[in-house]
């Protein structure tokens, strides 16, 4: 879907993005992670040609982005930034309608889409459509920012530290909301973040960048299994590794027949959640239930611990 081929960008002779290549498959979330100055934001802004590369090619659905006029390309690609970037003189509804209006959708279609998105982000259209951005809380502003980016039903969504201004509780909620929306629309998403936890939570794939270079690109488990450089290993965190590994999959695959005492755990929860519950309750095993409460069996501490061993 997005194919980045040996892309380089130089500022004043210095390469801020240095011959980076990777591909983001359709309908997946790729996270660009790295320290500030690693070139991750520049790389993101080259995908919608807010910055044009000096060398290399970026293909979107097989089409070279430089063959499309910049503003037309950007109307096809959703764009959400840190601190939301909402237009302060336009209402929530007008902000969300930005790209559909540029694309000259008819009014009924725009209104329907705005209401649909407000509902989706749990903002009551009657209460919020006519408010100005400064009348919203930080979390609401951020949701309107993402709603605006999704308004014209783009196949691709680019997000630059979209949750950076939110407190940890709101951030977790916003991340889950994004995952739900991605599932619903099948949007291909590229997210820039400096938060490795966010990268592991959101990413189908993770690209680790440092000093303009792409150090490693792969599934989260690949980063844990075989970190390409000491930088990646440090970023992933030697201490956290077993827990991150357990967080990548659900309890469902580890259910064994049998009974157990204690607070049951749902099969859709992560293995990390199950381990935490086992450790906290001091039990050797806990019952597992389906989301509707039907008993499925049990999960044992020993089984879980074996899953946390370094994968080969």
């Amino acid at each position: 879907m997005i194919d980045i081929q040996s892309v380089t960008k130089r500022y004043g002779g210095k390469a801020v993005v240095d011959s980076v290549s990777f591909a983001v498959p359709e309908g997946t979330i790729a996270v660009l992670v790295g320290t500030s100055g690693s070139g991750k934001t520049t790389l993101l802004r080259m995908i919608n040609q807010l910055v044009s590369q000096d060398e290399g090619t970026i293909l979107i659905g097989g089409e070279d982005t430089r063959n499309i006029p910049g503003h037309e390309l950007r109307r096809r690609i959703g764009y959400a930034i840190q601190g939301h970037g909402l237009f302060p003189h336009r209402t929530v509804a007008e902000n969300i309608a930005t790209v559909p209006r540029l694309l000259k959708w008819d009014r009924t279609r725009i209104n329907a889409r705005v209401d649909e998105l407000l509902d989706l982000f749990q903002l009551d259209p009657a209460a919020f459509a006519d408010r100005y951005p400064h009348q919203l809380s930080g979390g609401q502003q951020q949701r309107v920012g993402v709603a605006r980016a999704l308004a014209a039903e783009p196949k691709i969504l680019l997000m630059d530290e979209p949750f950076g201004a939110l407190d940890p509780v709101l951030r977790g909620k916003a991340q889950d909301e994004l995952l739900a929306i991605q599932k619903r629309f099948g949007t291909t998403i590229v997210v820039v973040t400096h938060d490795i936890n966010e990268a592991f939570h959101l990413g189908d794939t993770i690209a680790v960048m440092d000093k303009g270079m792409l150090l490693q690109y792969g599934r989260p488990i690949d980063l844990l299994k075989a970190p390409a450089t000491p930088f990646v290993e440090g970023l992933v965190g030697a201490f956290d590794r077993p827990f991150r590994l357990l967080a990548l999959d659900t309890v469902a695959g580890l259910i064994e027949p049998g009974e157990a005492q204690g607070e049951p755990i749902e099969a859709v929860r992560t293995r990390q959640d199950a381990l935490a519950a086992l450790m906290w309750s001091g039990a050797d095993a806990l019952p597992v239930v389906s989301t509707d409460g039907k008993p499925l069996g049990r999960v044992r501490l020993q089984t879980l611990l074996r899953q946390a061993v370094r994968p080969q």
Binding site: H71, H134, L158
Partner: protein
């Protein structure tokens, strides 16, 4: 705006209109200020006509200054016009540093007596506040907002018309307001070179040592300035209702 805040302005407006419609009715107010037998109300011309001419003069000068200053500020804040910024600043600043009397003195030999030199002086004087306010407004639009506009697929012209200009309008109106108020006062000086303004009333008062005339001219100018200031302040506020708490 609440009625309490609006009331003094309405009273002032009614007083001005009432005075211009029938100056003689106000004879009792100004009588104590003049010597016996001297006229208490300006009698060398029509006060209402002079007031209209005064307003027209300021309006025309400010209108042209607005067109030129705003156009100039827009031009020098575009990427292609950035190199003209220092030049534009210098020109506009010269307009402001020249004393209006000096402009009149220089313009009279070229344009003759009458309204012309005063229009030129008012125009030059009005440029700087409008230009500076427009410049400040256009250059302080937060970069993340223009970035979001560009990232959402707006063309440079759309970014200017839909984002930068509406966000800048309140401050531009603020500049026009300052220029207009300055213009109302400065226009009186124009009567020294035979411009038809309320300055005639003040000058007539000075020449015949008639305090009532001086006050009538000065109070009318002051009242007009206050009313126009309030009107433009209201326009400014209505343009930024999105900001109000």
């Amino acid at each position: 705006m609440s009625l309490v805040r609006l009331a003094p302005r309405i009273i002032l407006l009614l007083l001005v209109v009432g005075f211009l419609a029938s100056p003689e009715s106000f004879d009792f107010v100004f009588r104590p200020l003049v010597q016996a037998n001297a006229p208490a109300i300006y009698n060398q011309g029509d006060l209402a006509a002079l007031t209209l001419l005064h307003v027209r003069m300021v309006f025309i000068a400010t209108l042209f200054a607005t067109i030129i200053a705003v156009a100039l500020a827009i031009l020098v804040t575009r990427p292609f016009g950035a190199e003209f910024l220092p030049l534009a600043r210098t020109v506009v600043n010269i307009g402001q540093t020249f004393p209006p009397v000096a402009v009149l003195a220089l313009a009279v030999p070229a344009m003759g007596f009458g309204n012309g030199p005063t229009l030129v002086a008012l125009f030059l004087y009005a440029l700087l506040p409008i230009f500076e306010n427009t410049m400040t407004a256009l250059t302080t639009v937060p970069p993340n907002i223009t970035d979001a506009a560009k990232g959402n697929g707006m063309t440079p012209i759309q970014i200017f018309r839909q984002i930068e200009l509406p966000l800048s309008l309140p401050m531009i109106v603020g500049g026009i307001k300052i220029s207009t108020v300055i213009g109302f006062g400065t226009a009186t000086i124009g009567s020294t070179v035979a411009a038809k303004t309320l300055g005639e009333v003040i000058i007539a008062g000075l020449q015949s040592n008639n305090l009532a005339f001086i006050l009538q001219g000065a109070l009318l100018v002051a009242a007009l300035a206050i009313l126009v200031f309030d009107l433009l302040s209201m326009a400014e506020r209505s343009l930024m209702k999105w900001k109000a708490a």
